[in-house]
Structures are given as structure tokens and as C-alpha cells.
């Protein structure tokens, strides 16, 4: 039997294969400028499906911008981002690519979740409603299904008893755990964590990191994490990217980056972080 007779080959050539083999996230010469300030400078990097990557580096080095580009909170100035083998920052039109439209982005970003430094829970809704909102109105779950999902996720983050509380009644750490549950309720393929413990009192940090460790261990969600918690980065990530001035200064396994950094910029950054008590 010739290969063309097999039913698998009836699909468009290349498309399926590419999506499976290609890295999940591809940054292709991405430039991001805010006015005269270049935040990302022709950045190339890939993230594999299921990989957990930590982004470290001095403030202003572009780490958070990477997450914000992926969450479509910012647009690329130049270059392309592809996700799952398909264009993400752009969309196909005719034979070329044009900057993605709002409706294209809306469709594409559903598989991406983000947890913010400032939690950003909706203060006018209970914890349950915060978590149910997107599953009901984006994924089309029934209210019962969404409520059940909310309860399960709150148990996961250890806040099962707070389901009917309002965000203002919770501590920062508790709010952040609810925000993690809210992001997970969308069953995202990619989870973006933007300095999720930076706004917390020191004694509340551990609780949030424990929840994230649990998520990392029990799911295969691809995680991109911007953090100053080096211990956490070392424990959960497969790879660490050290950023400086909008470019990757060094990348490697966490043991190598933290134990045996090669670049001077990495060394001095890690030293400054340690001195600040992290």
C-alpha cells in the first residue's frame, strides 16, 4: 500500500505534524518598544509544551513584557509570536500575515491564563463568582458545573471554606490563591505567573508558592513564571532564562544558573537578589 492510501494522509499536509512537533511557544525576533524605550530587542526563544520556565533578571529587563505579550495585554512592535504551531501575534490573511485582530486574539488567548502581582480579583463578586465568571461566559459551562469546578479548585488552593466570601475579606495570600484557582478554572494550556508573591507580606508567600508547587506537580500545564523567589524557581522550573536589557543573557537548568552562573550579569543579579533577602 502506498503512503497516500492511508487515511491519515487525507488531512492537509504538514499542518498536524508541525503542531505536534513544534515548540508550544515560539518568539521569533520579537521587538517591543514603548516610545523610545526598547524593552525587548529581537528576542528569540522557544518553550516546549509542558515545560516550566522561570524568567529572572533586573527590573526593566523585559520579563513581565513577555508575559503581557502572551496574554495579549501588549502588542509586538516587530517580529512574531507563534503558539501551537500557529501565528499568535499575527493572523494569516491572503498569502501573508497581518497583525492579529481583536476577535482573532480573543479566540487564541482562551488557552492562556495569567496570575497578576496585584491579584486583580473582581471585588464586586464573591470568590465563587470570580471563579465561575469565565467558565460560564467564555467556555459555556452551566452554572452548576462551574460552581462545582470552583469548589474543587478552592479545595486545591486550600480555601474551600471561603467560597462565599468577598475578596476584600481575604488576606493578600488568600486572594492570590483565589486568583490562581480562577486562572485554572479555564483549564489553560499555558499559565503565566507575573511576580505573584511580590505584593504579599513575607509570611503569606509560602502558602501561595506551595499551591503553585502542587499545580506544577499534578498537572502538565506549561508555566512561564517571573519571580524573585529563587528557591521556588529552582524547585519547579525545568529551565531558567536570565534577562538583561531585553535579551537573554544566559539560560540553563536551574541548578546550573543558580549554582554555577557563567555570565557576569547573572552573577551580579543573583548576588543583588540574595543581598535583598530573597
Amino acid at each position: 500500500m502506498s503512503p497516500s492510501d492511508t487515511p491519515e494522509n487525507t488531512t492537509a499536509p504538514g499542518v498536524e505534524g508541525n503542531a505536534a512537533d513544534a515548540p508550544l511557544i515560539v518568539f521569533d525576533k520579537v521587538v517591543k518598544r514603548f516610545g523610545d524605550l526598547t524593552v525587548l530587542d529581537h528576542l528569540d526563544f522557544n518553550v516546549e509544551a509542558g515545560e516550566r520556565v522561570t524568567l529572572i533578571g533586573p527590573s526593566g529587563s523585559g520579563k513581565t513584557t513577555i508575559l503581557r505579550l502572551l496574554m495579549t495585554l501588549e502588542k509586538v512592535t516587530e517580529g512574531h509570536i507563534n503558539i501551537g504551531g500557529e501565528p499568535f501575534s499575527h493572523m494569516p490573511r491572503g498569502s501573508g500575515l497581518v497583525p492579529a485582530s481583536e476577535s482573532y486574539l480573543r479566540q487564541r488567548r482562551k488557552s492562556i491564563g495569567m496570575v497578576f502581582q496585584q491579584f486583580n480579583l473582581f471585588p464586586n463578586m464573591t470568590v465563587r463568582k470570580n471563579i465561575m465568571e469565565a467558565p460560564v461566559h467564555v467556555l459555556g459551562l452551566s452554572k452548576d458545573e462551574a460552581s462545582e469546578r470552583a469548589a474543587e479548585l478552592l479545595d486545591l488552593v486550600g480555601l474551600g471554606d471561603k467560597i462565599d466570601a468577598h475578596p476584600t475579606q481575604l488576606s493578600g495570600g488568600q486572594q492570590q490563591r483565589v486568583a490562581i484557582a480562577r486562572a485554572l478554572a479555564m483549564r489553560p494550556e499555558i499559565l503565566l505567573l507575573d511576580e505573584v508573591t511580590s505584593a504579599l507580606d513575607p509570611e503569606l508567600v509560602a502558602g501561595v508558592l506551595d499551591v503553585l508547587r502542587e499545580v506544577a506537580e499534578t498537572t502538565d500545564i506549561t508555566m512561564l513564571c517571573v519571580t524573585h523567589e529563587m528557591g521556588f524557581a529552582r524547585d519547579v522550573s525545568h529551565r531558567v532564562l536570565m534577562f538583561d536589557k531585553g535579551q537573554i543573557a544566559e539560560e540553563g537548568h536551574p541548578d546550573q544558573i543558580f549554582g554555577d552562573p557563567r555570565e557576569d550579569r547573572t552573577k551580579s543579579f543573583l548576588k543583588s537578589v540574595l543581598e535583598n533577602g530573597h
Binding site: 491564563g113 497578576f116 486583580n120 469565565a134 467564555v138 479555564m186
Partner: protein, 214 residues
């Protein structure tokens, strides 16, 4: 005339004046409903780039010209089959919408940027971002300011007199010119305005306490 107010006389004119007050209150309530809904609509649409700027210019125009001129102008332009009451209420509503729109706008701008970003991160449709996240927070903050416009509007309804709406002031004018007892009549009119606006003001202060604290 005995003392400050002749109670027998005021008792006689009271039914007429209460009829006028009823029209005044009706005009305020309907006009306010228009101002609240239209103002909200304008505040949201104002965020649309070019159209929003045009709308802003129009609102600026409405805010900087006197209400009484707008009333007389629209009354003169409108087809004859609209009653003075209808025209008066609509003009009053639109005029105040120009103010409530600014109030809503300040409320919307007061909603933290993170709320928009979280809505986006959850891929919420625009209708939910506005309807479930932004507006409930924005409106809560501006309820006291909106309440103040209710009282301001109530005090502006006598201007409808200018286009022949028989509200409280018009009734008082009729009664006064009939009996030549303007002092008694207008004292009662003033008291009637107080009877409505003081409880309203108290109610609004309560709302203020309830919502601003949150």
C-alpha cells in the same frame, strides 16, 4: 391676613398647588431616568475613538448653554404634536445626561487597570467586562454624585414653565395673578419644594454612607 401664613387661604389653594407639584415630581423622575440611562450610554460610547470626541463636543455644548434656552429652542423647533411636558422632560433628561455622563466617566476611569487586564486574561466578552466587572464597580462609586443631580434637577424643573408646562411654578403664577396673594402662594411653593428635596437629600446622604465606605 393673620400672621405669616393664612392657613385658611393656603388650605384653599393647596389642591391646585399639589397638582402642580405632582407634575414637577413626574417631570423630575422621568427626566432623571433619561439622564441616568442616556448618561451611562454616552460615558461608554465616549470611549470609541472619533465618534466619542464628537459626542464629547456635543456634551460640552449642552453643558455650557443655559437649560432654559435649550428648552425654548427645542420647543420652537419640535413638531406641534409633541406636548410641552414631553419636550420639557426629554430636554431636561438630555441636559442632565451631559452631566451624569461625566460622573459615570470619572467612575469608569476610577476602576483599576488591573480589572480590565484580568477580564482580558480570562477572555471575557466585552459585554461581561462592562456589565459584570467595570460598570458595577464604577457606578457604586458615583451613586452619591448621581444623587446630587437628582436634587439639582428637581430644582430646575420650574424652568419648564417657560414652555408652558403647568408644573408647580406655573400653577402658583396662575393662583397668584388670580388672587393677588403672591407672598402666601410662593411661600407655600417654597415649602413644598423643601418637603420633597430635604427627604431626598437625607436619602442620598444615606446612600453615600452605604456605598462610599465599600
Amino acid at each position: 391676613m393673620s400672621g405669616f401664613l393664612d392657613f385658611e387661604y393656603t388650605g384653599q389653594i393647596m389642591p391646585d398647588l399639589l397638582g402642580g407639584l405632582q407634575i414637577t415630581v413626574q417631570a423630575t423622575v422621568i427626566g432623571y431616568a433619561i439622564a441616568l440611562t442616556l448618561g451611562l450610554l454616552i460615558a461608554v460610547v465616549r470611549r470609541v475613538p472619533v465618534f466619542g470626541s464628537l459626542l464629547h463636543f456635543l456634551m460640552e455644548f449642552i453643558r455650557t448653554t443655559p437649560l432654559v434656552i435649550q428648552l425654548v429652542f427645542v420647543f420652537a423647533m419640535a413638531p406641534a404634536n409633541f406636548s410641552p411636558f414631553t419636550i420639557g422632560v426629554v430636554v431636561l433628561g438630555i441636559h442632565y445626561a451631559a452631566y451624569t455622563a461625566e460622573v459615570y466617566r470619572s467612575g469608569i476611569e476610577g476602576v483599576a487597570k488591573g480589572q480590565w487586564e484580568a477580564s482580558r486574561a480570562l477572555s471575557l466578552p466585552t459585554s461581561r467586562t462592562w456589565g459584570a466587572v467595570v460598570l458595577p464597580q464604577a457606578i457604586r462609586k458615583v451613586i452619591p454624585a448621581l444623587g446630587n443631580y437628582l436634587i439639582a434637577m428637581f430644582k430646575d424643573t420650574p424652568l419648564l414653565f417657560a414652555i408652558g408646562v403647568v408644573e408647580l411654578l406655573a400653577v402658583a403664577q396662575q393662583v397668584g395673578s388670580r388672587d393677588f396673594r403672591y407672598v402666601d402662594t410662593f411661600t407655600v411653593v417654597g415649602l413644598l419644594f423643601l418637603v420633597v428635596s430635604i427627604p431626598s437629600a437625607i436619602l442620598i446622604r444615606r446612600l453615600e454612607k452605604r456605598y462610599v465606605a465599600v
